[in-house]
């Protein structure tokens, strides 16, 4: 808190020689408060500092960035017909029209380029089989099909983990259970292949509802444990159960959509494209859940801020359970497809390393994004299924990549851009604060970011003004103000006061009445209509004059500190 003792804030000690006398021009008129002679400091020329200041105290470096890429101009008088994704109101590309602040030229910016990347990526996947080397064709097609199925599973899992923020590890338990039961039904009841995903969905629904119930009560780690236990329970059950083929390492013999009459190559191609279609289906589901009402509700209730969302009327629990159940149905569907694709299912689907590998895919890509799930799956599948020749080393590679991602990336591969920008901003402000003077003139890089150039000059003027005024602060002036806060003052004090009074409104000091003529308190104005002033100190001043002086002392202190 401010000490009212003037000496502590006084850079120029008023020694005997420095003290001069100011004669009040109003004394001759009589009246109260017009002291004839007031001790003051010698005159200091306010223009001197302008003559002395010949250059900036900090290095001023060139700024400006070359436009090396093209930006479309505006449409001007031409009619711009925008296309939409039928039957939604979404435009094909989100394009922002704007005025370039440097030239005022009309420009268009594609705000979200992801549709372009998706289109290119999916096109590449569709055409990939024609580019596969013949020697590895079978491996790659098999890996591709595996990728498609796992990408679909991971997209559903991402809905649970990312959108619904439910830390469930029972994903593969749902897929596996659906796959086992549908396989068994297909073998024992002769269920056709197209029935498997449908029955699988029903199993997913039951499973989803059952494990959703504890999710309403358990949080985070405990729920993960529970679902992991469930996964293990399924594994133990299916491994030991005779009807699910405990002896053969899995249950095989289900009906399949791949015609047996086809050549092995055609069968692989069909499997590849079928799995790709499954992934596209999962992508659509992801978009429908995450990008629409449910997803928006859940984004209003991010982790650790649920209570606030709930207080504002967001029923995030209901939304979470809905997302969970929907993705469980989809996982059951995928389980049925899995059985129809591989003609059955192995116990390894329940194994702990499957869960871990799945987690690795999600973490590498980045939680909460569809592209993260798909690309993460692609990376891991490529290492795991294509680079088989590496042997166990490839699992190490996956582990190392995952470790690096967890250590260095905040949100997987697809968080890199954002993370890089945050890092660049941090470096930028570090560099600026290292170079710039506190309260000094703007650097060229700050000026480019200031649309009103008048403010750039104001900063210069204010800096020079303060440098001059700081040299005036003295015990004489403080004493003069204390004895007479209002009215005619010596030249030096008047200059200080005029500067203080002309400061911008945000955070400008004012006095608030606590009790009329008995108690006053210093506050700071907001400068924004509708926002009340804030209290800056507890101290109460018994009179208006003392409060005026309290404000003056705070202003002097702020000046000297700047």
């Amino acid at each position: 808190m401010l000490s009212p003792a003037p000496n502590t804030t006084t850079p120029t000690e008023g020694s005997e020689d420095d003290v001069r006398i100011w004669r009040n021009p109003l004394t001759a008129w009589g009246g109260a408060g017009a002291e004839p002679e007031v001790p003051t400091i010698p005159y200091k020329d306010p223009t001197e500092i302008w003559a002395e200041t010949r250059k900036s105290g900090v290095p001023l470096l060139p700024v400006g960035r070359l436009r090396y890429y093209y930006k479309w101009p505006g449409h001007g008088e031409k009619l711009w017909s925008k296309l939409r994704y039928w039957p939604t109101r979404r435009r094909i590309l989100h394009v922002r029209g704007e005025y370039n602040p440097k030239t005022l030229r009309r420009e268009k910016t594609i705000v979200d380029k992801r549709p372009i990347w998706w289109a290119l990526g999916l096109l590449a996947l569709a055409l990939a089989p024609f580019a596969f080397p013949a020697s590895q064709l079978n491996t790659l097609l098999a890996a591709g099909a595996f990728f498609g199925i796992y990408a679909a599973i991971n997209l559903c899992w991402m809905l649970v983990l990312g959108t619904a923020s439910i830390f469930s590890l029972a994903t593969y338990a749902v897929v596996g259970t659906a796959a086992f039961i549908t396989t068994w039904l297909s073998i024992s009841l002769g269920l056709p292949w197209w029935g498997l995903p449908i029955i699988g969905s029903a199993i997913g629904l039951v499973f989803g509802v059952v494990i959703a119930i504890p999710a309403t009560r358990l949080d985070g780690f405990y729920y993960s444990l529970l679902t992991l236990g469930l996964n293990e329970l399924c594994r133990v059950y299916f491994v030991q159960s005779k009807i699910f083929g405990s002896a053969t390492g899995g249950l095989y013999g289900a009906d399949t959509y791949v015609p047996k009459s086809w050549s092995p190559f055609d069968q692989s191609m069909l499997g590849y494209y079928a799995a790709l279609m499954l992934m596209c289906g999962a992508l659509l589901l992801y978009r429908m859940v995450d990008g629409r009402r449910l997803g928006r509700i859940l984004r209003m209730a991010p982790e650790k801020r649920e209570a606030f969302a709930e207080a504002t009327g967001v029923d995030f629990r209901r939304a979470r359970i809905q997302v969970f159940v929907v993705s469980s149905i989809a996982l059951g569907f995928i389980g049925g497809f899995y059985a129809a694709h591989y003609r059955g299912v192995g116990f390894s689907i329940f194994s702990f390393d499957t869960v871990l590998l799945g987690l690795a895919m999600l973490v590498i890509g980045g939680i909460g994004r569809a592209e993260g799930a798909v690309v993460g799956t692609a990376v891991v599948v490529f290492l795991d299924k294509v680079l088989i020749s590496w042997g166990p080393l490839r699992l190490f590679a996956i582990g190392i990549i995952m470790l690096l991602v967890v250590l260095y990336l905040r949100n997987g591969l697809f968080g890199i851009k954002q993370q890089f920008r945050a890092w660049r901003d941090k470096k930028k402000s570090e560099r600026r604060s290292a170079r710039a003077e506190k309260g000094g003139e703007m650097l060229p890089e700050e000026a480019t970011e200031t649309s009103n150039k008048d403010l750039v000059y104001w900063r210069r003027y204010d800096k020079i003004q303060r440098d001059y005024l700081k040299s005036l602060v003295s015990s004489e002036l403080i004493e003069e103000h204390k004895s007479n806060p209002l009215g005619q003052h010596s030249e030096a004090l008047e200059r200080l006061l005029l500067y203080f009074r002309r400061q911008p409104l945000p955070d400008k000091y004012a006095i608030q009445v606590v009790q009329p003529f008995k108690a006053y308190r210093i506050v700071a104005l907001s400068g924004h209509r509708g926002v009340p002033p804030r209290v800056v100190e507890d101290k109460l001043y018994p009179s208006q004059d003392e409060a005026y002086h309290g404000v003056f002392m705070r202003r002097v202190q702020d000046l000297l500190e700047s």
Binding site: P25, L26, W29, G30, G31, A32, G33, A34, G74, H75, G76, E77, K78, L79, W80, S81, K82, R84, P87, T88, R89, R91, G97, E98, Y99, L104, R105, R106, K108, P485, L486, G487, Q488, L497, L498, F500, R501, R502, P504, L505, K508, A510, I511, Q512, V513, P516, F517, Y520, V523, L525, S526, R529, G530, V531, P532, P533, Q544, A547, Y548, V551
Partner: protein, 773 residues
């Protein structure tokens, strides 16, 4: 429990005994309040004066009142009465108009033209999106479909805007074209800006119109559980000649409309010709639809008319000269002219009530802080009977009503030379936009507020209030010092308001021998000025108690005296400056601004006029040699020494705040005598701006001889006379030392003489001097 707050206002401020006055009260955190009619005698709590004085008066309404929370509709917009739903277009449509956005992209959605229900997402609307793009949208309840232009709108630029919708194909288009010329907007053609945009998209569905959604220009229907329906998403800016068709117009047709040609009647549903119906004597709130259905629009919260339109080209400066160029209707989301609260209680005043300044004192809870409210009104006599009238400057109260200077005006601390001293009620007023603004504030888009009314709580028209930026009472609470003096001296007096003077003219003043003004009668309509002039020239004796009076030309409508209009322009000490071409009062068609610039400087009326203002110290007056002349020396009877007014409740002196000076060049009657003048004002006192042609160093109090207050006297025709106190602080010097001071004595001498019939003392000492010394 919520903090207890009470606020109220009356439907009229000037009433007579036995008449009814309706109180509108809003309460937070209380269901009942205790009402007590009080007569206000003194309002300044300054310990150097007599303190706050009120007298409780018996009244049928005293006692417990049921009160409730009331809501205020902020913002000005146009409503359209459409009983048969002509505007509930079910299929294709086109909407168009010219707009001048004031705050595009301020984070609020703003509706321009439409029948939109914001609560239920149903209807259609052309508006401005949160990020400042022109947007057209239709809603069917569960979903909204919309189309927006390519680039954001530039502020303070005239655009032609339109949207078309073909319900059969679903094709929607939206258009914006700039209609800037060399005069009408912020930017000239040297700024390389392409304002145009034309976009087409296909909607998935058409609008669903709800029965009860109103068609609004500049807003949309919204709903709140406690408050019920209200209007939100209000446009800030000007709108000119909007219209609507029930078919999709072609590009060619739109281009014709953008040129300002009259719309074809084929499919036209409504076309509001904002420049229609102007008269030489002003413009009302009705915006006329010259289309086939005559669906006239009506302004809510007094949209500003008579503003320059899209086609204003700088040649004409008034809507009377070129009405077609003045089609701009200015809307603001923060304008408020009438709270329109439900009446809380209609009170019949006692028949025996003495004329005076009264208030209904309301208290809820412990009655402390905001739990106490004084709803002030003025009681005239049934028949004038006293010799003295105190003319309450209610027009000036309106001008300053709920001013935000301490909080919003960067200039106020250098101007008043001190940090503001704000009180609880100032903070409450600042926090809560529902109190509306004064003519010293600007709307959010930076334009000066030109309308003020008393149909809202006015926090500074109440006793005990101190103007935060100056730390002293100002206007109403300061004027109570004059009332306190009249009471203390035991004079028989009646109270009149500016409203009475405006409506009745000289007839309101005529019955009185002597009229005293308030401390700051700054805002005068032509009729008020005429009435005052006629009173004085007809033999009235007039005491101008204040400073900076008869300054701004203001206007009231015949049927709505509670709303005042002023335009501040070009000269004078002013909080804002009207835009080019917008200097005439929409209410009357007169030019606003200073009376001085209209040929009627205050000196011409009362002998002195505004010269300087300053706010941290006051000075005494010193007798001038003319005061020794026997023609006027009776005024100085009993005054010892030469200094007059060395104390006072406004900065400790009788000459301060705003000073008025004698000036023959501005029409001070040539026989006027200066009785006393102040001097030695600090450099915070600066020459008023209309006196300055070139500014040069030394135009401040300690170096310019003109900066002074003059106490003057002159004889007027028919035994009339004028006495002037010379500054605002003069009235606040009266209560010093419990009214025992030489200002009080001086004024007493004047009033005593003024109320005596016949010629004034000293009126025979008029021969030429033949001196021996």
């Amino acid at each position: 429990m919520a903090q207890i707050k009470l606020f109220g206002y009356t439907d009229r401020i000037s009433v007579k005994p036995g008449e009814a006055v309706t109180f509108h009260v809003s309460a937070d955190g209380a269901a009942t309040a205790i009402a007590q009619l009080v007569r206000l005698v003194h309002g300044d709590e300054n310990p150097l004066g007599p303190g706050f004085i009120e007298e409780e008066v018996s009244c049928e309404a005293n006692g417990e009142w049921r009160v409730q929370k009331q809501y205020t509709q902020l913002g000005s917009f146009l409503t359209v009465d459409d009983p048969v739903g002509k505007l509930a277009l079910e299929g294709s449509m086109s909407v168009f108009g010219f707009i001048f956005p004031g705050l595009p992209g301020d984070g609020r959605r703003q509706c321009l033209i439409g029948r939109w229900n914001n609560d239920k997402s149903a209807g259609y609307c052309l508006g401005i999106s949160q990020d400042g793009h022109l947007e057209f949208w239709v809603g069917r309840g569960d979903e909204v479909d919309y189309i927006k232009t390519e680039v954001p709108l530039m502020k303070k630029t005239w655009y032609f805007v339109a949207a078309t919708f073909d319900a059969a194909s679903g094709k929607a288009t939206i258009h914006q074209e700039s209609v800037t010329n060399r005069y009408n907007g912020l930017l000239g053609s040297v700024a390389p800006i392409d304002y145009r945009s034309h976009v087409a998209e296909t909607f998935r569905f058409k609008q669903k119109n709800l029965e009860d959604t109103p068609f609004l220009i500049g807003g949309s229907r919204d709903f709140h559980e406690l408050r019920g329906p209200f209007v939100s998403q209000i446009f800030s800016g000007k709108i000119d000649r909007p219209g609507i068709y029930d078919r999709a117009l072609s590009r060619g047709e739109l281009e014709q409309l953008a040129k300002g040609t009259l719309p074809s009647t084929d499919g036209l549903v409504a076309y509001w010709d904002t420049a229609e119906g102007y008269t030489d004597a002003g413009i009302g709130d009705t915006v006329i639809d010259i289309g086939p259905n005559k669906l006239n629009a009506k302004g809510y919260n007094r949209p500003v008319r008579a503003q320059t339109g899209w086609n204003w080209n700088g040649r004409n400066d008034c809507f009377r000269l070129a009405p077609r160029e003045y089609g701009g209707v200015e809307l603001h989301h923060d304008a408020m002219i009438d709270c329109n609260w439900k009446p809380t209680r209609t009170v019949r005043l006692p028949e025996s009530l003495r004329s005076g300044i009264y208030a209904m004192r309301l208290r809820a809870g412990d009655g402390a802080g905001l739990g106490e409210e004084y709803v002030v009104f003025y009681v005239r006599p049934k028949q004038p009977k006293a010799k003295i009238a105190f003319l309450v400057p209610t027009a000036s109260y309106l001008a300053y009503a709920n001013e935000h200077l301490s909080f919003d005006a960067e200039i106020i601390q250098p101007m008043t030379g001190q940090p503001p001293i704000i009180s609880e009620i100032d903070v409450e007023m600042y926090k809560n936009l529902d109190f509306g603004l004064s003519t010293y504030d600007s709307w959010a888009d930076g334009n000066g507020v030109c309308y003020s009314s008393y149909r809202r709580p006015i926090v500074n028209m109440r006793p005990k209030h101190r103007m935060s930026s100056m730390g002293v009472p100002w206007a109403f609470p300061a004027d109570l010092s004059i009332v306190g003096w009249l009471e203390h001296k035991g004079y028989d007096y009646d109270v009149l308001t500016d409203e009475d003077l405006h409506i009745e003219g000289v007839d309101a003043l005529k019955p009185y021998s002597c009229v005293l003004t308030g401390t700051h009668p700054e805002y005068y309509s032509e009729r008020m000025l005429d009435g005052t002039e006629d009173y004085i020239s007809g033999g009235g004796r007039y005491i101008y108690m204040g400073g900076n009076g008869y300054y701004w030309n203001v206007a009231f409508r015949e049927d709505e005296p509670w709303i005042m209009e002023v335009r501040k322009l070009d000269s004078g000490m002013r909080a804002w400056n009207a835009r080019p071409g917008e200097h005439y009062l929409a209410t009357t068609g007169q030019k606003s601004g200073l009376w001085k610039n209209l040929g009627r400087p205050p000196q011409k009326l009362v002998g002195i006029g505004f010269i300087a203002e300053g706010f941290e110290t006051s000075r005494p007056y010193r007798r001038m040699p003319d005061s020794y002349h026997r023609q006027v020396s009776w005024i100085m009877e009993g005054i010892e020494g030469e200094l007059i007014g060395e104390e006072g409740l406004a900065y400790g002196g009788a000459a301060g705040l705003e000073l008025d000076r004698y000036d023959l060049t501005l029409g001070t009657p040539p026989h006027t005598k200066i009785l006393a003048s102040s001097g030695g004002h600090s450099d915070n006192y600066m020459l008023s701006i209309e006196e300055i042609l070139y500014p040069y160093p030394g135009l401040a109090g300690s170096q310019d001889y003109r900066i002074r207050g003059d106490i003057i006297f002159f004889n007027a025709p028919n035994d009339g006379a004028v006495f002037c106190g010379g500054s605002i602080a003069f009235g606040q010097a009266l209560p010093a030392k419990n009214f025992d001071n030489n200002v009080s004595r001086l004024l007493g001498n004047v009033v005593d003489a003024f109320i005596k019939p016949g010629s004034l003392p000293g009126s025979h000492w008029i021969s030429e001097e033949k001196q021996w010394r």
